[in-house]
């Protein structure tokens, strides 16, 4: 009796444990799988942005897909939280813990992919504008355009012709002004050439006069030298004249004495 009771008790606990594990874990796995599928679809839609297939309908589909994935993320997150709470409470089976941890990591990876896809979508939505098909426009508008084109073209050609005529007149006028100014500049150029010639002549004259001034300097130097030599000769002449005067005086005295002696001899 007691043995049978023990057996029946064990069986009950095992059944409960298995049922709880399968329910929560499978729910999370299913949610992650759906998110994966949604993110793949979202990425495919994002890749279509910026191409001819980029239409307002596609953008609306993109928006709906984004909302759907958001809802799936919320549900799966709640289930994952519930599963982790169960793990903490019971703390019975390690394999369940490991499986839940793996699911959590997968969930985070899927979330990261979704965020990247969202960023890319935001960038491309900003960069590109949706392609509006031609058929969307009313046919009457197109017909009106077709009707008006020839008249507008004729008017455009006429105004272009008038502009060309005005431009030609302006070009001729400007060419005349330029020619006049060129002539004036030619005259100025010629006069500057003449001024240059005059300066060259001045240079020649100044050089020649420099040579003349050098000659004058040489002559004056020669004069100074000759004059100084003449002066020295005069000094020598003055000295000679003085010595000659002394000699004459001496001769006169001697002659006087001799004459006196002769007179005395004759008187005796």
């Amino acid at each position: 009796m007691s043995f049978q009771d023990l057996e029946s008790g064990r069986g009950r606990s095992t059944r409960k444990f298995n049922g709880g594990r399968q329910d929560s874990t499978q729910a999370v796995a299913s949610g992650i799988f759906q998110i994966n599928t949604g993110v793949s679809t979202f990425q495919r839609l994002v890749n279509t942005l910026g191409t001819p297939k980029d239409t307002p309908e596609l953008r609306e589909k993109l928006h709906k897909t984004r909302l759907h994935i958001g809802q799936l993320v919320k549900d799966t997150s709640a289930k994952l939280k519930e599963a982790s709470e169960t793990d903490h409470q019971s703390g019975v089976n390690p394999s369940k813990k490991i499986a839940d941890a793996k699911l959590a990591r997968d969930f985070q990876a899927v979330l990261k992919e979704f965020q990247k896809a969202q960023q890319t979508a935001a960038e491309r939505e900003t960069t590109y504008t949706p392609f509006v098909p031609q058929s969307a426009l009313p046919s009457s508008y197109t017909a009106g355009e077709v009707d008006k084109v020839p008249e507008q073209r004729a008017q455009l050609q006429e105004s272009k012709r008038q502009e060309l005529v005005l431009l030609d007149n302006e070009i001729a006028f400007n060419e005349a002004v330029i020619e006049e100014r060129e002539q004036g500049i030619q005259e100025i150029h010629q006069q500057i050439g003449e001024v240059n010639e005059i300066f060259k002549d001045l240079a020649v004259l100044v050089n020649d006069q420099g040579v003349m001034i050098d000659d004058i300097g040489t002559h004056i130097d020669n004069s100074r030298a000759a004059t100084s030599q003449g002066k020295s000769q005069l000094v020598q002449a003055a000295k000679t004249q003085k010595s000659n005067s002394s000699l004459t005086c001496l001769l006169l005295v001697i002659f006087g004495i001799v004459l006196l002696i002769v007179i005395i001899v004759l008187a005796a």
Binding site: G184, L202, G230
Partner: protein
């Protein structure tokens, strides 16, 4: 060189007769109450209108009438006309007319298109007085004048240098004579001294 009259006219293709917007005339050659004064003004107005009517937009024109040279310059229907004498350079005249039109458009904008009568405009008088000298209106002419003055000064300088050359020639001759005289003095002194020494 003289500016007898300056006018600004509106040459509208729709209107056959150009409209005078502003004008100034130098009538100093006539007495204040002279009979010819009003006749001369009418003459100027008539000739200006005729020349302006015959000057298409974007064109310049010079017409000789009696002793006057009439220059006209039309820009987009706004026409400046100047009465000068024969000696006033053409380029200076058109430069002046161009400035008159520029200043008019700066002062009045595009209101002249709706103007049908003459208004006093002080700038015309100022321009007439200022540009009496053609060099003021034409930088090339001013440069040419400066070059002419430079050439005149250089010619005077050359004359001065030539005169200096002549003076230098005289100095060379005199210094040469001085040198010779000095040598003679030296030789004479030496000769006399040697003679005395022999004695």
């Amino acid at each position: 060189m003289k500016i007898t009259a300056l006018l600004v006219l509106k040459c509208d293709p729709e209107t056959r007769e150009p409209v005078i917007l502003a004008n100034v005339s130098d009538l100093s050659q006539f007495g204040k109450f002279s009979f010819y004064r009003s006749n001369f003004e009418e003459f100027i107005v008539f000739i200006a209108r005729t020349v302006a009517r015959r000057t298409p937009p974007g064109q310049r024109q010079s017409v000789k009438h009696e002793e006057y040279k009439v220059h006209a310059y039309n820009i987009n229907g706004l026409c400046a006309v100047g009465f000068m004498d024969d000696h006033y350079p053409v380029r200076s005249a058109f430069s002046l007319l161009n400035q008159v039109l520029d200043v008019y458009q700066k002062d009045y904008g595009d209101t002249w298109r709706f103007e049908n009568s003459s208004q006093p405009w002080p700038y015309l008088k100022e321009a007439s007085d200022k540009f009496r000298d053609p060099a003021e209106a034409d930088k090339l002419l001013k440069i040419q004048r400066e070059l002419d003055e430079t050439k005149i000064i250089l010619h005077k300088t050359i004359d001065g240098v030539l005169a200096r050359g002549e003076k230098l020639d005289s100095l060379v001759e005199k210094s040469s004579e001085l040198s010779l005289a000095s040598k003679m003095f030296y030789k004479q002194a030496k000769k006399t001294n040697s003679c005395c020494t022999l004695l």
